[in-house]
């Protein structure tokens, strides 16, 4: 399946009424460096949105705030109806079980095998599960990401693409309602990128999950997202379809478009 075919993905999963993530006037600075300067965003259930932007523009900071890893300076971030920075530790822990976070570096536990990596969130959060049930869940997600044969391997024995997919599998095992992808295709070859893009779309369709995809890769954004937006000087461009955003009239988006689709040819 190539990028254009992926664009024809089934968008019927989007629920036009339920907002799963609602961000209003979000601001975040590190010392004197203003990273996010009044971000507004709404994401509907089953919707994928790609967030583009230059390195250091605050894309990763945004999803770290959504998952509660960072606290905003001001503004509100509501995830599944709860204000992430206002709820207590236990409520945040419960909320996080509904959020999958795929790290740029995969962040697999390198002292554990693939099986143990996948079992870890399940065993720790659903303590009454039997070993057989855990094994069935592990096999199911490994099947979903197409890496059943790696079950007993260590992370150091996997390729970059495999590590990314196992990282995604580790989040899928908890059946998240929201997926946050941090640079899912960075540093991968084009074929592996297409595999990851397919997987992101599959997750959207199969799990009806809403996703935020942080990326520099416009092919990935085009292939996986229903909407695209870009962080420019701490603020979002108004989210729209890929074609609407990259109308080539905006000088900032033009550079991204030209670099990805014209200079590379």
């Amino acid at each position: 399946m190539d990028a254009d075919q992926l664009m024809e993905k089934d968008k019927s999963t989007i629920d036009g009424e339920t907002t799963v993530i609602s961000i209003r006037n979000l601001k975040k600075s590190f010392d004197s460096n203003v990273v996010l300067n009044g971000i507004d965003l709404d994401i509907l259930r089953g919707e994928n949105i790609a967030v583009l932007g230059r390195s250091g523009s605050g894309k990763s900071v945004l999803i770290k705030i959504i998952s509660g890893l960072l606290k905003p300076d001001s503004g509100t971030v509501k995830v599944l109806g709860q204000e992430v920075d206002k709820i207590n530790g236990k409520a945040l822990q419960a909320l996080r079980l509904k959020i999958g976070f795929s790290f740029q570096s995969s962040a697999l536990y390198d002292s554990m095998s693939v099986r143990e990596n996948l079992a870890f969130p399940l065993i720790r959060n659903k303590r009454n599960l039997k070993t057989k049930e855990v094994n069935i869940a592990i096999e199911a997600v490994l099947n979903d990401v197409g890496l059943s044969k790696t079950i007993n391997q260590m992370p150091s024995e996997l390729s970059g693409g495999q590590r990314k997919r196992i990282g995604i599998a580790r989040t899928l095992i908890m059946k998240p309602e929201i997926m946050l992808y941090d640079e899912p295709t960075s540093g991968l070859d084009p074929i592996t990128c297409i595999e990851i893009n397919n997987l992101i779309v599959k997750v959207q369709q199969q799990y009806n999950a809403s996703s935020i995809i942080i990326t520099h890769d416009l092919t990935c954004a085009k292939a996986t997202a229903n909407k695209v937006t870009m962080i420019v000087e701490g603020k979002f461009l108004i989210p729209g379809t890929f074609e609407a955003i990259f109308n080539k009239e905006n000088p900032v988006t033009k550079i991204f478009y030209d670099y990805n689709f014209i200079n590379s040819k």
Binding site: L69, L97, Q104, A107, M174
Partner: protein, 269 residues
């Protein structure tokens, strides 16, 4: 009278409260205290991580046994060998068991064991947590609904704190065995006579103070290793720094604590 504001020399705004080094020092003290408070808060709140605690006790305790056995044995043996000539001058070699037992139980076993554990376990904990930090594994743990502080930090600090007294007692016994072998070889002292002579001079306070010292040292090693690792930054360089600082800081603090506890114990003896 209006002040002459035009001729007032405007000093640059002071960036630090005292100086950069002093500010960093006090900030670090505050940060470590906060870390220790969080340890106690998490250690006594549910859910308890018993399985991981036992795993860490095994890693710290059982896996250190060969090294502790060797160093403890050599310490007892060498200390006996070096002490003999001085006592022999006064014809007092019969005092060797008492001298050795006091030295080993009161000072050598806790200190040598703590230094060995600081080198082995402190560096291991610092490097392991540091590596997990810089590769975002700790963040991954947090977003997957696990409290990384409780799972990684509380279990490790508790394991070192619990295991070090056990290792110190074990090291003391092995050290005494080393001493006995040397004494038996030279003075042909029987084992019951050695035991009788050695333990006659050891009081309950000596053993309790030894265990207390070991507990303090264990806690120090655990906190230093975990703190350095948990807040590691700057990639692989940071991991190396975390491991290195954990060991150096632990060793320094162990000597400071030794000095303080000895004063305290001597005062109540």
């Amino acid at each position: 009278m209006e002040p002459d504001t035009e001729n007032i020399e405007v000093l640059p705004r002071q960036k630090y409260f005292l100086s950069k080094k002093m500010d960093n020092f006090f900030t670090a003290i505050y940060s470590v205290n906060k870390f220790i408070l969080q340890y106690f808060k998490e250690a006594f709140s549910t859910p308890f991580e018993f399985k991981e605690l036992i795993n860490q006790c095994y890693q710290v305790g059982c896996k250190s046994l060969p090294l502790i056995s060797l160093t403890g044995f050599i310490t007892g043996l060498v200390f006996t060998k070096q002490s003999r000539p001085s006592l022999a001058e006064f014809g007092a070699t019969s005092w060797l068991p008492s001298l050795i037992s006091i030295a080993v139980i009161r000072a050598l076993a806790p200190l040598v064991t703590a230094l060995i554990v600081a080198g082995k376990v402190g560096s291991n904990v610092g490097a392991e947590l540091g590596s997990m930090k810089v590769t975002e594994q700790i963040d991954a743990m947090e977003v997957s609904g696990t409290n990384p502080f409780k799972f990684l930090v509380v279990t490790r600090i508790s394991a070192v704190t619990l295991m070090l007294p056990v290792l110190v007692l074990y090291s003391g016994l092995v050290g005494m065995l080393g001493a006995y072998l040397n004494i038996h070889q030279n003075e042909l002292t029987s084992f019951p006579a050695f035991i009788n002579s050695a333990f006659k001079t050891i009081s309950f306070l000596d053993i309790i103070s030894s265990i207390f010292k070991a507990t303090c040292y264990g806690f120090t090693i655990g906190v230093a290793g975990c703190y350095q690792g948990y807040f590691a930054k700057n990639g692989t360089k940071g991991v190396g720094m975390a491991a290195n600082t954990a060991v150096v800081l632990s060793m320094f603090l162990i000597f400071v604590e030794e000095m303080v506890i000895v004063q305290f114990v001597n005062a109540i003896r």
